[in-house]
Symmetry: C2
Subunit: 490 residues, 2 copies
């Protein structure tokens, strides 16, 4: 493909994406495919000869698009999304078109420095503690973009672990692994599953602390567990609180968790704000983050509310040197003259991967295109629409809302046995018109309904509620429909 | 930004990338900036109000572009690159514009299945062992796309570790971490630094085995180390061989390493083919991979030779269940009806991150646009150009080539003390016209010269050699130039 062909196909692809976005309401949110649908449609090896790009785009339209779940659709209420916006996509296009690797300063000075700048912008916009902001006086902290919240959490655990072991080890020549069996990490049972996965991958003992009826970590149980472990000769070294849990969008009490954690020797305090901390772009929401100033590290996914395309998982640490010590190794071929200058960051020492895309471009594009006020208006709208949906649920006696609705997530269920709500969800999912997912809260089966899409309007909320109530009437009337189909529903 | 504005700005951005690529030879490969150059040019927080996109693109041109190292420039001979091609960029554009998260089957059926298909395509094109190919009869293996080779290597280590611990543990209720201090991993001292970093992050004991004068792992030393560790009560559990080392593009003897590793209980054999295994797209190069059939897992970065934009790090495992067991956890909100079907892969259980981009699109676009024959021609050209450069070096008595040139990398030095070669490199780097990086081979300072760029021609090789020889003449003549400038050189 030569440069003129690229212009042609690239512009056609821009139109393809624009048309897709403009017409998204006309397609079902879920596809009508079964596992294994694609392989019979695709040859089983690379074509020997070059194929014209038109053939490929024809296959995209005919084979790929019918097999997509449309995450950026007004009736997608399922997971916290992977984010999309036009300026975010443009930022990704620039990053891919230049394809420069941001791993050490010399290989990409502008990409390196822009990442640091937008991480400072982001931290300031959310009102995060000053020590996370690299250009704040006296700060030795800073931010970095990782691939995902899972990665941020895993890295935080690894960094905290290296830090405690360094302290425990002193001048001893024991291998670092010898200290591991004594270490204990803590989070709540409602924390994102990636914390449990991080502990599993790193062979780290973890306690999943009970939550209260609102999905918040029970601080009394946490304290008791920590003191109990210390009495048993173990070493508590890491606690993660969540701002906006996956199951119910609950805000843990970071003030109480953080304050206590600072009384425990070696304890690292990490905050997973992947979803909920985005809302701090609204100053009135920052009351839910009181106590953030106790954090040693924190992560926020801008894709989850702030319109930056995935991957846009920002992570900050209070002391960058602790992170670099845990994650660095320094072969000759990666050395350069400027590597010891504070302003010449080598981001390879801030995460798992060596090479990294220029992820900062999409942040820069999105933040400037919307401006602070545009981002605030978007988040405010999501919160208002969720409240609107909550009111619709509360006004119907057959239903209950199971979480405190402060953000974009409403968890609801029928006031009946779990199987009724499960059936409700299955019928709606099988219709492919709406996508919601289940969760368990207070040991009950609930439906997650999350407002995320940039162009969601009140009418989408009302329409979706109409479908839910009609199916509920159908189920509760027990009119014989048990085959999981949504007969007669739009 | 509305959809019509996106069309306009998107198309302008396509032209921007096309123009950049078309004119790349007219700019210096290295930028004329010092650490800290960008922050004075950029406001220190998000603008309050929205900004027009034209302003942003003006800043891209005036502030970002002058601060880039141009990785896809005919005079970039430094690192194995992050890859770029027009169809690769188009694949990235599609993935970003759709922004669908490939984490479980239901959230992205087409993205999930396409990933599995292109991983099979890729494995077949390289002639990898059949058991890595998911649609091969009897296979229980398969592939997955990770962010980077570093991540592939780290994950392989974690999976192998979980597997050995599961076997050692049996029915015991000891914590997994208790087994860690006895485990030992092995690789060569010339393996990619990410292996050492992976061991550090995972608190795993590692032995860096000596290499011979050609940069290959010394199999005799490896065997001795393993047997010695067993005699000392330790448990060897992981060895990584490299196909195409970073320092010298050496191919380890995977046959000998693999064959021996299969005689050691619990030993997992991983092959890092990040760079060198790409060349197996040429059947005549596969002799360097003899013994791959002993591997339990393997990784190859298509960005390093095969024109797929970063991140394009493919990883295969012989037994997918072993990987899933090590990397899974299963909360209610991620469950779906089809999850136990073989064809409904949940890629979140194949790596660290939950959500992942639709990385398969760019593979599909590149493989089809070039066809097998186009990819083969590209790789063949890189190898021929490197041989051309090697000959130029060998024909000049003042220089020596320090590695065996089978791939695109030539490591060379002046036949003098290290400081002469270091000075040569510094002067050239400071000119900003050419970018090469240092390495240490056989305890000598050498310069890595790697041919990677799609449009590199013989004239670029000849021109770059002319610069190198002129600077060498200058240095060896000791005409008084010691200030690191390349006076009078183009």
């Amino acid at each position: 493909m030569n440069v003129e062909e690229f212009r042609k196909h690239g512009k056609a692809l821009i139109d393809f994406i624009a048309d897709y976005s403009a017409n998204i309401e006309s397609i079902d949110v879920l596809p009508k495919v079964e596992p294994g649908f694609l392989s019979p449609l695709i040859p089983d090896e690379i074509s020997h000869d070059p194929e014209p790009f038109e053939n490929i785009m024809k296959d995209v339209s005919e084979k790929i698009m019918p097999g997509l779940t449309h995450e950026h659709h007004p009736k997608y209420f399922a997971y916290y999304t992977s984010g999309v916006s036009f300026p975010g996509t443009l930022g990704d296009i620039l990053a891919s078109g230049l394809s420069v690797g941001v791993f050490n300063w010399i290989n990409c000075p502008a990409g390196t420095e822009l990442e640091n700048i937008v991480m400072d912008w982001f931290a300031k916009a959310l009102g995060l503690p000053k020590y996370f902001i690299s250009d704040s006086p006296g700060s030795v902290g800073g931010g970095v973009l990782q691939n995902s919240a899972s990665e941020c959490i895993f890295i935080s655990l690894l960094v905290a672990r290296a830090h405690v072991i360094e302290q425990l080890k002193g001048d001893s020549d024991l291998h670092d692994s010898v200290f591991l069996p004594k270490l204990v990490a803590y989070t709540s049972e409602d924390a994102h599953y990636s914390m449990e996965k991080a502990a599993k991958m790193s062979l780290t003992r973890i306690r999943l602390i009970k939550t209260d009826s609102r999905g918040k970590m029970r601080v009394d149980v946490f304290k008791e567990a920590v003191l109990n472990d210390i009495n048993n000769g173990l070493i508590p070294f890491f606690v993660m609180a969540t701002l906006g849990t996956t199951g119910s969008a609950a805000y843990d009490n970071v003030y109480e968790i953080g304050k206590f954690s600072k009384t425990i020797p070696y304890m690292w305090f990490h905050i997973d704000g992947a979803y909920g901390a985005n809302a701090f772009i609204l100053p009135e929401m920052r009351r839910f983050g009181e106590g953030m100033e106790y954090a040693d590290s924190m992560n926020v996914n801008a894709c989850k509310m702030l319109l930056v395309n995935f991957e846009s998982s920002a992570m900050w640490v209070k002391d960058v040197m602790i992170m670099k010590k845990a994650l660095s190794a320094n072969p000759v071929y990666l050395q350069h003259d400027n590597e010891n200058k504070v302003s010449a960051i080598d981001y390879r020492n801030y995460g798992i991967s060596l090479t990294r895309r220029m992820r900062s471009a999409k942040f820069w594009f999105v933040f400037r295109t919307y401006g602070l006020v545009g981002l605030q208006n978007h988040v405010r709208k999501l919160l208002i629409l969720a409240k609107k949906f909550e009111k619709l649920v509360l006004d119907d006696d057959r239903f209950e809302v199971v979480n405190e609705v402060h953000l974009g997530l409403v968890c609801f269920r029928l006031k009946h046995s779990d199987d009724k709500t499960e059936k409700l969800l299955n019928i709606i999912t099988n219709s492919r018109k709406m996508f919601m997912v289940p969760a368990r809260l207070n040991d009950k089966f609930v439906i997650r309904y999350c407002v995320m899409y940039e162009y969601t309007e009140e009418r989408h909320i009302i329409e979706s509620w109409k479908v839910i109530t009609e199916v509920a009437t159908h189920i509760l009337g027990q009119s014989g429909c048990t085959n999981g189909s949504l007969n007669g529903h739009p």
